[in-house]
Symmetry: C2
Amino acid sequence: MSSEEAQAGDGKLYLDDLQVGQRFTSGPHAMDESGIKAFARQYDPQPYHLDEAAAKKSLFGGLVASGWHTAAVTMRLLVESVPIAGGVLGAGGELNWPRPTRPGDVLRVVSEIVEVRPSRSRPDRGMAMMRSETRNQRDEPVQIMTSRLVVPRRPA
Amino acid sequence: MSSEEAQAGDGKLYLDDLQVGQRFTSGPHAMDESGIKAFARQYDPQPYHLDEAAAKKSLFGGLVASGWHTAAVTMRLLVESVPIAGGVLGAGGELNWPRPTRPGDVLRVVSEIVEVRPSRSRPDRGMAMMRSETRNQRDEPVQIMTSRLVVPRRPA
């Protein structure tokens, strides 16, 4: 197998293919009111995610998506936009929601590799740090996440 | 209104009622295979969350829940177990998944207040840091999260 095939194959990237500064941009995902409420009913049943009148009186001033909904949609967009071999597999990370996601917002995720580190104990894998900004249609960040990804090394 | 009513009222806690070391324990939530796959189909469509045969060949050795599913269920359990006035409102935090959640796991969340800080610029609110461990039925942590919560101060 040529190294090109090893890298490309199904088009997936191994740790060896990742570089600091490498960027990935997702397609769009529109957030609507019914989806925001459905997620909230199941996972985050609080008034500002469920009820317009109550949300108006909250510090958000209107209905907003659960931050965990924004995070889940971000994951969907990462799976579609970051072609890492073995999948987008996070061991953890840091999460910030600088502003809420509202009904009608259209989200995209722009990701950048900020660190690549082969494992010393496991020669078959390594860790990549990726910073992902989830932005709305005004290009304002609604979520900033730095994730530690487990990434396989290219088979010898 | 007596101070007891101010604190109790609907039983909700203001920043003034929170103390470092204060703990909250949630009820249980059982994770089943169909729920794990349903979440994954919508938000994290990767083989080890969707397909047993593919999951067996992955580094998990079997079907596992998306970490974002564990996080969303954790949020639900926090809403039910942490009675903060104005809701459990996170501005961000740090998230770690030391081991996966598997079908049949029963999760609980144990939370502890680790810092309480009134805002200097906004006299009506403050920040509380809370460490929440999501544990399975063997008391092993599947998620460790430290969240920055926005908490209202008790009205004068």
